[in-house]
């Protein structure tokens, strides 16, 4: 029985993980910075679970020259429900802390991993769409491209830097907290 139950310390860690996941809702998850000679201060696209921030209109205005579609909240249906999915995940973690069953923790970790992979796949899909489905009528023709999720890319006069946002780091931290009970309460 002892082997299937999580300890009080583990339960406490899971509550902390819940709080980190909830906190992540209020911070950006991903960010792309654009620098050009005439934009030394940089332009930003900042993605939250439920909204976009940054100099979106200016980025859109510039992107139309290469025929890229507009970034807008309407164009990303995920923004409508992503925060509920994240909230649901936080709820599951909290449930684990309460029922303290190791099997349930495995299940939640499984959901976490699948969710994370789906998120990466989705973001990559959008980056690919935006970078490859360019309007053929655009005044400036560029080769299709896929900006990386993390890292640097050069396009015309712009250098872009993609980063994970604070929200993502919080969720990664939460995930680490989820793994600790597996080690701590392992069968000896």
């Amino acid at each position: 029985m002892n082997g299937k139950r999580l300890s009080a310390v583990s339960s406490f860690l899971l509550v902390a993980a819940t709080l980190l996941i909830v906190a992540s809702l209020f911070f950006p998850w991903w960010k792309m910075e654009f620098f050009a000679p005439q934009y030394p201060e940089g332009l930003n696209i900042i993605v939250y679970p439920d909204k976009l921030e940054g100099e979106i209109d200016i980025v859109n205005g510039l992107n139309h020259y290469i025929g890229m579609a507009n970034f807008s909240e309407e164009n990303f249906p995920e923004l409508q429900y992503l925060s509920y999915l994240i909230g649901g995940l936080a709820f599951l973690v909290l449930m684990t802390a309460i029922i303290r069953r190791k099997s349930f923790l495995y299940f939640v970790i499984g959901i976490f991993v699948i969710g994370g992979l789906l998120g990466v796949w989705d973001l990559n899909r959008w980056l690919k769409n935006f970078g490859t489905e360019l309007d053929p009528m655009a005044p400036i023709k560029v080769d299709p491209f896929v900006p990386p999720i993390i890292g640097e890319n050069t396009l015309a006069n712009f250098v872009t830097y993609s980063h994970l946002g604070l929200g993502t780091y919080l969720v990664i931290a939460a995930f680490i907290l989820l793994l600790i009970p597996l080690w701590k309460d392992r069968q000896k």
Partner: protein, 624 residues
């Protein structure tokens, strides 16, 4: 046993969270100016490398160009010219509806002495006032946008040269006149000059919320010429002083006839007292203005005799003294406000002139200062220690002297003939010292020749050492009469106009663009964006406007590039029209399509790589 592992992983998670919370990931250039003035060469003192900014704004009047010139100090780089009284096709000033209305029927102005708005006698960096000696107007410039916001005509007056000066909390801006004219500028024979002509001074208030100037009241001073002026400070805050010449009331050949009397006057007045008169109804209503006639509505105005034909009169930073310079009887005279107040209290008068009491010269004069061979003292500025710097027009130099002792401390030649000078915040209660700029009237061979018409010359003088030192010279368009030098961090500009959701003339979305016809009026609600015009997004050709010959056309254009320094222009070929729309701004141009034909339209302000493609057609169908 291996309990350290969960503890360590917990710590790692914590550090990770803390790092992303508190670490500074910001990128981009940063720089800081080292401002150690000592041991620098003159070149180093004025060099401002790219990425750094000047320490002061210089706002120099543009005289008969009708413009304001904005420079940076100490680099002395010309940053911008701001049109005020003259049209400027570069910014569309005088072409778009608002500025065309501001300009009225005038095409030029003679922009004289600028004055910054003040709070507690110090520059607050919000507004700049200026007057037009050429067409008797006053203007206000907003320093968030460096644009002219209002211009008013000043009736009953002709050439407010003796302005502008603001009281220490910008309660009033006073505009005394250079030329005397009959009330209402009506016809009157010059034989009746002394009886029918007046040198009217206007008290102008500024409504900051609506950015409107307004004449509160006027004073029908004697028919003399009023030259320069200053408001009191601190203990003299309720008072103001101005110089006069031609108290001879000559009507011809003023060069000779206005230089006969040994003394002219300083007019000393208490604006709080005049304000009270207006509240008490102690005035006459003339040409729709509340007019104080000093001989009838007595009190609050006094005359102080001064060496003949004075130019500047300047109040010391502590507000205790005023210094007047007789340009023909070359001496600076230091007068005491306290002595003047005592003399007024004791009615220590030497008779009256035109119904105004004359205070005994000896009762108010503190000292006369006459540096050897210094000729033509015009105007005085102050440094942080209260030392005075007076321009000598005739002997072409700046003289530094101590108003408390009259001792001459230093002299430096300038090239040539300085009119005014301006010190860093040098006419406030709190001058900075550091820099003085001589505004020279004559440049001669100072710069590369451009033929007979010469620039004026501004020379930057370092005040930090024991000796004044000219460290930079810069040519400037005709012609700075006076200037204001303000610490750069007091100016808070914007670079993008905010959306005005309730502005019926604005179109921020392509779907809102439209062309509406009302009878023979055509109203266009369009947008400008990199790199196209859209006047009607639903039209087959969204960048075309088609009207009938004789239609009245209103083009409202909004720049929807909310991005710094992305300005668009708008011109119609051969229609003599051009305007600018700044980022976020909506601007209107109004005209009659009186020429049938085909006229290309284009963006006149280079905005983007495809700026050349930012065009359209204006088609005017001929009357059949």
């Amino acid at each position: 046993m291996k309990n350290w592992i969960p503890a360590a992983t917990g710590l790692v998670a914590g550090v990770l969270a803390a790092t992303v919370f508190f670490a500074d990931f910001s990128s981009g250039p940063s720089g800081s100016a080292t401002n150690d003035h000592a041991n620098k060469t003159n070149a180093e003192k004025v060099y401002v490398p790219f990425g750094e900014k000047d320490e002061y704004y210089l706002m120099a009047s543009g005289g008969h160009s009708g413009q304001m010139f904005i420079y940076g100090v100490p680099s002395m780089r010309h940053i911008r010219t701001v049109p005020v009284f003259s049209p400027d096709s570069a910014t569309g000033y005088g072409f778009d509806k608002h500025t065309k209305e501001l300009m009225g029927d005038y095409n030029w102005g003679d922009l004289h002495h600028p004055a910054l708005s003040e709070t507690d006698g110090d520059y607050d960096g919000k507004y700049l006032f200026a007057t037009d000696v050429g067409n008797s107007r006053a203007a206000v410039m907003n320093l968030e946008t460096f644009t002219t916001r209002d211009i008013i005509d000043v009736p009953n007056t002709s050439g407010p040269h003796c302005a502008a000066f603001v009281t220490q909390n910008t309660e009033y801006m006073f505009l005394p006149t250079r030329f005397a004219v009959p009330i209402g500028s009506e016809y009157a024979s010059l034989d009746d000059y002394s009886e029918k002509y007046r040198g009217v001074m206007s008290a102008v208030t500024f409504d900051e919320e609506n950015e409107k100037l307004n004449i509160a009241y006027q004073v029908a001073l004697p028919p003399w010429s009023y030259d320069l002026s200053d408001a009191g400070k601190k203990m003299s805050a309720d008072w103001a002083v101005m110089t006069t010449y031609n108290t001879e009331e000559a009507t011809t050949n003023l060069e000779i006839n206005a230089s006969q009397a040994d003394r002219d006057y300083i007019v000393l007045f208490n604006w709080k007292e005049l304000e009270q008169k207006i509240q008490d109804g102690d005035y006459d209503e003339v040409t729709g203005q509340k007019m104080i006639f000093p001989e009838k509505h007595k009190g609050g105005i006094y005359l102080v005799p001064v060496a003949k034909s004075p130019h500047g009169v300047d109040v010391t930073p502590d507000g205790e003294h005023f210094i007047a310079s007789g340009k023909l009887a070359p001496a600076m005279t230091v007068f005491s406000f306290q002595k003047a107040f005592d003399a007024i209290e004791n009615e220590d008068f030497a008779g009256e002139r035109n119904g105004i009491p004359i205070i005994n010269y000896d009762s108010v004069m503190e000292r006369e200062v006459d540096p050897e061979n210094a000729l033509g003292p015009l105007h005085t500025q102050f440094d942080d220690k209260g030392m005075a710097y007076t321009t000598m027009f005739i002997s072409s130099e700046i003289v530094k002297w101590d108003p408390k002792t009259g001792e001459t401390l230093d002299r430096v030649p300038v090239q040539y003939s300085p009119g005014h000078s301006v010190a860093a915040e040098g006419d406030t209660v709190n001058p900075d010292g550091k820099y003085l700029i001589a505004l020279n009237k004559i440049a001669k061979d100072s710069y590369l020749s451009v033929g007979p018409s010469h620039p004026e010359s501004m020379q930057l003088i370092d005040l930090t050492g024991d000796k004044m030192e000219v460290i930079q010279s810069a040519p400037v368009n005709p012609e700075p009469h006076y200037a204001q030098m303000i610490k750069a961090d007091k100016i808070k500009t914007i670079s993008i106009y905010e959306k005005e959701e309730n502005n019926p003339l604005a179109a921020y979305n392509q779907e809102d663009t439209r062309i509406e016809r009302k009878g023979n009026e055509v109203h266009v609600y369009g947008i400008a964006m990199r790199s196209k015009f859209i006047f009607d997004a639903k039209a087959e050709r969204p960048d075309v406007i088609e009207v009938n010959e004789g239609d009245k056309v209103f083009i409202h254009l909004t720049n929807i590039d909310f991005d710094q320094d992305i300005t668009h222009g708008f011109a119609i070929n051969s229609y003599d029209l051009n305007m600018e729309v700044q980022p976020g701004q909506t601007n209107t141009i109004e005209f009659t399509a009186n020429k049938a034909g085909t006229y290309p339209m284009y963006c006149t302000n280079f905005c983007s790589a495809l700026h050349q493609e930012m065009t359209g057609y204006f088609l005017v169908k001929p009357k059949s």
